[in-house]
Subunit: 324 residues, 2 copies
């Protein structure tokens, strides 16, 4: 999956409504912004998990395998793009990309563990062998564990921000988003829900925790780094929450409509696992409409940020229109 | 395993040398101190991982199962006892027990993941079914993940210390002790070393990472909480490092000499797994002597702390004399 491929517009008439009124230039600008920031995030991850010699090399190799080599970097992008609302320049960028790298490590740990045989038992991730297939289960468990640790470590390091209050706020927000009351709780609900029907409300709750909270955190982390006012932070958190929800609904739609080749992972797995999805509950068109409504509301939350938030507005459209 | 049972003195003539010159009162005082602090740590863990309703309850239940119900609480004890060198009173104690609970959660996560079938495949832990046997593998993976997250979250919360520099220092020190350059790196070396012989130097390195770093952190965390001077912190870190090493050597000796009933876990597993141990490399008596030398050096590091460090001196003897 390339970034270029990731922002191809969908041919669906419903999904393309969101692009009306926008010049082609918007898509080009977002594409360039995503590509540039993804490259910077990749470089930050590479620098922040250096390969090591010695007998513990294997777990570090697995950490690098799980985090390097692409992906959309949506979470890392959100951190950096939101942070840029508040501060520009090389130093501010460098700090933001550390936080981007941290959230990508946290996200990667969750994917490594979710792919394990005892969890979703997935052999492929981004078109490549999942970490436990490339290495082994024990190494994948440990690499996931150490990626989580490294994510918190990076946030606490003084290079992330000179103000320790900012650093602890980042640690606290990431922990709240990713623990039992957030991402892991969502994954637990997902495992428990297999083989039985969930209501629409239950599915919303599941995804708000499983993917929503970490995407919301990513936007908030940019605001924390930027020492935003409470109102600014709340608006950016609301933006993050809504595009997180839109992203997951779009994911369900993709799982139901795209091919494995487009996704770079096994398609139709949700259906095969009898998972309750937005598509199962709302139909493909209903799910698309809900995602678009969320993306619109996300955009409205950005009103006070003016021109500077243009890429974040583009991103809200992109998450519901992406093909992979 | 009860705390009372845990401090029974060994009958080995080599191991009891360390108690000569000490009145019986020392053992009694340590026993009471361990029991009181273990109860306070248990209460802190209980309060800091409240059971929740709803579909995510299962992962929280597993987190509570893995952390509550005993264990020696060596790490949590070290935090609290070192912190008490610097500050006394109910408020200081309450802060210290939060940090104690945090390190016990980090330790518990490592045990839950180490016990998994893909790792050490252990059915018993403290005489009870290990977490993946009590629940299931997926739940155990997630509970371990969320315990790690909660450990960092607690450190970052303002209730732990009013100074954000103290809080980020705690996060940073815990991350460094427990990540790929610490505990997880040690576990990786341990997995890689199964079925082949390790040199004494390799075994020392393995255990310095796998168990030593977190025990060292526990002593350091008390110093960080107490806003110790650099020299004080270094002395307490050295104390923690040495008793950590002594603890692991004593563990090897116990594995080779104690019964499963005494240990509350499968005995003789190291031998069965053809793991390279201190006992295999040094013999039972040689291993005991090394543990005792480390305990003596640990005690020497405490010299400047006078009377207040008496329980920490007792503890150094206890770690090499314990029967379980």
């Amino acid at each position: 999956m390339t970034i270029t491929g990731a922002v191809q517009r969908t041919a669906s008439p419903v999904a393309s409504q969101g692009l009306e009124g926008n010049s082609a230039g918007d898509g080009v600008a977002l594409r360039a912004s995503l590509r540039d920031r993804a490259a910077a995030i990749e470089a930050a991850v590479d620098a922040l998990i250096p390969a090591v010699p010695g007998p513990e090399a294997r777990v570090v190799d697995a950490m690098r395998y799980a985090t390097l080599g692409g992906g959309k970097r949506l979470r890392g992008y959100l951190v950096a793009e939101v942070a840029a609302l508040f501060a520009e320049g090389a130093d501010a960028d460098a700090r933001a990309y550390r936080v981007s790298a941290s959230v990508e490590m946290l996200h990667a740990y969750s994917l490594v563990h979710d792919d394990l045989p005892a969890m979703d038992d997935d052999d492929l991730r981004r078109g490549q062998p999942s970490t436990h297939r490339k290495f082994d289960e024990a190494t994948a468990i440990l690499a996931g564990d150490a990626l989580q640790t490294r994510a918190f470590e990076i946030l606490a390091e003084t290079a992330t921000h000179s103000d320790a209050v900012v650093r602890t706020d980042l640690v606290l927000a990431l922990a709240r988003a990713s623990g039992a009351a957030g991402m892991v709780g969502g994954q637990m609900i997902d495992m428990e829900g297999e083989g039985r029907s969930l209501s629409l409300e239950e599915v919303r709750h599941l995804h708000a925790l499983k993917t929503g909270r970490l995407i919301q955190y990513s936007a908030e982390a940019g605001a924390i780094l930027g020492q935003a006012t409470t109102e600014q932070r709340e608006r950016l958190a609301a933006y993050g929450r809504d595009i997180g929800a839109a992203f997951q609904i779009a994911d369900d739609v993709l799982d139901a409509t795209a091919s494995a080749e487009e996704l770079g992972k096994t398609a139709g797995k949700d259906l095969a696992a009898e998972k309750s999805t937005f598509v199962a509950l709302l139909g493909v068109d209903g799910a698309r409409r809900e995602a678009e409504a969320l993306a619109r509301r996300a955009t409205e939350a950005l009103a006070p940020f003016g021109e500077k938030a243009e890429r974040l507005r583009d991103l809200a459209r992109y998450v519901v229109e992406r093909r992979s």
